[in-house]
Symmetry: D2
Amino acid sequence: MKDVQNERDSRNVAIDRVGVRNVRYPVVVLDRDNGTQSTVASVSMSVSLPHEYRGTHMSRFIEALEGCRDSRIGPAALEALTQCLCGKLDATEAEVVFRFPYFIVKRAPVSGIESRMGCDASLRGTCRAGEFDMVTGVEAGVQTLCPCSKEISSQGAHNQRAAVRLDVRMTELVWFEEMIQMVERSSSAPLFTLLKRADEKYVTEQAYANPRFVEDVVRDLAVELNQDGRITWYSISVTSAESIHNHDAFAELRRDKRGD
Amino acid sequence: MKDVQNERDSRNVAIDRVGVRNVRYPVVVLDRDNGTQSTVASVSMSVSLPHEYRGTHMSRFIEALEGCRDSRIGPAALEALTQCLCGKLDATEAEVVFRFPYFIVKRAPVSGIESRMGCDASLRGTCRAGEFDMVTGVEAGVQTLCPCSKEISSQGAHNQRAAVRLDVRMTELVWFEEMIQMVERSSSAPLFTLLKRADEKYVTEQAYANPRFVEDVVRDLAVELNQDGRITWYSISVTSAESIHNHDAFAELRRDKRGD
Amino acid sequence: MKDVQNERDSRNVAIDRVGVRNVRYPVVVLDRDNGTQSTVASVSMSVSLPHEYRGTHMSRFIEALEGCRDSRIGPAALEALTQCLCGKLDATEAEVVFRFPYFIVKRAPVSGIESRMGCDASLRGTCRAGEFDMVTGVEAGVQTLCPCSKEISSQGAHNQRAAVRLDVRMTELVWFEEMIQMVERSSSAPLFTLLKRADEKYVTEQAYANPRFVEDVVRDLAVELNQDGRITWYSISVTSAESIHNHDAFAELRRDKRGD
Amino acid sequence: MKDVQNERDSRNVAIDRVGVRNVRYPVVVLDRDNGTQSTVASVSMSVSLPHEYRGTHMSRFIEALEGCRDSRIGPAALEALTQCLCGKLDATEAEVVFRFPYFIVKRAPVSGIESRMGCDASLRGTCRAGEFDMVTGVEAGVQTLCPCSKEISSQGAHNQRAAVRLDVRMTELVWFEEMIQMVERSSSAPLFTLLKRADEKYVTEQAYANPRFVEDVVRDLAVELNQDGRITWYSISVTSAESIHNHDAFAELRRDKRGD
């Protein structure tokens, strides 16, 4: 059968990224406390395509993914997968992104009862001219309580759920669990799946005592990330579902510490 | 050209609904305060299909929709459209659903500054054996402040944005604006697009003074709907994005007053 | 601390359903070929609330869910969970819904290469006055190739991905795998995650030889479900992302075989 | 009342972007054929925040947006809005993004019947140190028919709906209509809302005669954009909902022609 993809292309246009997207796949990821964790990823895989090739071979991406069936998805597996794609597809660049729910066990602050809470985690690995680069991400929910509303109101203060997305490059392993704790420390209060009444009193008062604008969340997180020697680059995005508005407040900051 | 859809079908299976979905279309809808309002709808249109026909004629749905270009979308237009579909497609039942953002002008409670706020509105019209039936819906955002959190905490109370979906059947026109006001009255506080500091103080204190569980929102709304003689049937769904949890609380109630 | 939820309510409005929604949770589900499968569910849990109670106790839903940690999610676990909720929350009705990606191994038709493909599965269990009822659902992707386009065109035929949602009530176990096969048999061709060139030729020709309107998919599926003695009730919804239109075609059928 | 946002901040962290997001707002946009078009936008507005300010004033974004009520949203309005935000919020950078459905009238290729078809349009304006920059985007649906599937199969070829996102910077006005036509010319066939049977035959045969990989769509579009002197920068993203797979194929290319 003819290999149409292998035809020579005369349009003289190299393509940055060509591949597959929204591939759902069951994976096992590294977990600080339990060794591993089973979850379900949405996977994207692509390579650069030189101008002279008509097309890439899409089935080889899936073969490479199936080849990871028994791997624990983490830095080593992503490096191997991007190198495998460069080889199989004769490419100088390959990128793979895994996005998946990741669960941590949270202990309620007073009762101590444990429950599981999910966040959105991601790993993006890139191999360029043989060099591997990885960005690790989490998006976790927190509470933000408005400092202005607290200051000006005789009682109460509007508060709400906010989503904090944190992406980092690191020189030494920083666990998802640590990234989530950094995010939580920068907020008015963390979220929990299971709270008894004494716990609800605790987190309500904790949030009231720690008002935070979205600007404050970004800054407190930036201060901590600036001090953490393992982290060389970060990107923060905070989106707060304001409980007095029908729209969101947001703040974003990206910094490359190596460039300083 | 052969009309495949018109072939006789021998499988002996009548189909409840066949048609088109997710048709985006610019529409003009009735507006209490300004006469009309331009918006963009997602439209679904379907008919029942008797067992003996192989298929319906999908292009006729779009022709019928194009025929509404100059209509104001409301009860009369929906009745005409469903009847038109029954005729064009030789069907005993037709259903059309328009979902669209609808904007109301909100006046901030202290400063009086006006701004536009969007909600999700919908109109579902059905023609069955010549009889027309319509369900009118809104989904509006509100604030809920937790009565338990307020009661047990020394200061503050968790609160959050909640979405209230209200669908009604009516014997006499109830405007989207009225439905939104009913929803807002049943909540801890309404939302606004634009609030100055004096307004923010006002709504913060208003919410703190009016704590509401999702159960309370449903019940206060049900009491008002029960008393409104124009409304014969309703369905309420409240979903609150709890600011202490990473999941939502919800409550739902459906009631046919004619069946009492 | 005061139990606000336990206060007596005087509004005289019983609530159909009150509970939690969008709880993400790692689960293990039954798998025909491998015994079990790890996945991640979005869980909804609710109870009916008599008119005299101010509120339900939301934390007890999560406690009940945590109590299922070591259960395999299936009919027995759902029955136990709904009964547990009725007991813990003093309710006459409880409903739980688990939605989760479910993976099956597909073998390419010519090369025989295996790959994993995800579908959306769901289990909805209800306990009413002690009686348990369950609806099992899958939403699987298939290909539909238009019979009209094939008939009238000199070459080719438009085809596209369609989503088929099938919900059933059963008297005897029907596996997700069987439901997916029923869905695939009713379509122009099944989908695969991994196809080599000889496989692509096969499925292209298979689809061209088996044109199906959305109406045909519903009917072929209905004929098979009507003949299957294990199934007492079904609901089918087919949505086809037409490749010549920017909107979808759909067809739906619901039938209670017990009512005949 | 105290102005908490105006407090001095000592954390020494400047923030890239702080503002509001997901503000739904009715707008009027420029339309090549009809002068203007009413639609509904999702608006994002932000400014940079120097390290010494505690917070921005969120209500001023909405005031600025309300101030555009009577403007036609286009390059001039965006430039004015970003300058207004820099002034009102004492910022050196401001960014506003409007995303909205935009409708064009399509004429069926044989019957000539007209219908409206929606695409997703966007305008992103940035003011940095007084200099204005704008990116104009459309995301339009098209059909892609697989060259490999056509080549190797005895009959037929798999085809599907694909979404093509095109963002450009321009030195002279390029209408949304022109951008959509460029996208359509690079595909196997355009989409239509309304096609009669003779039209369906036409587009089926057109697509079969013009097979295109996602790589081909990117390249044909790039060739045309390279030749268009009005365009100085572009970004292309094609995502094809493969009808033989349950995942998507994609290709992406970004090029700054000024940098050559």
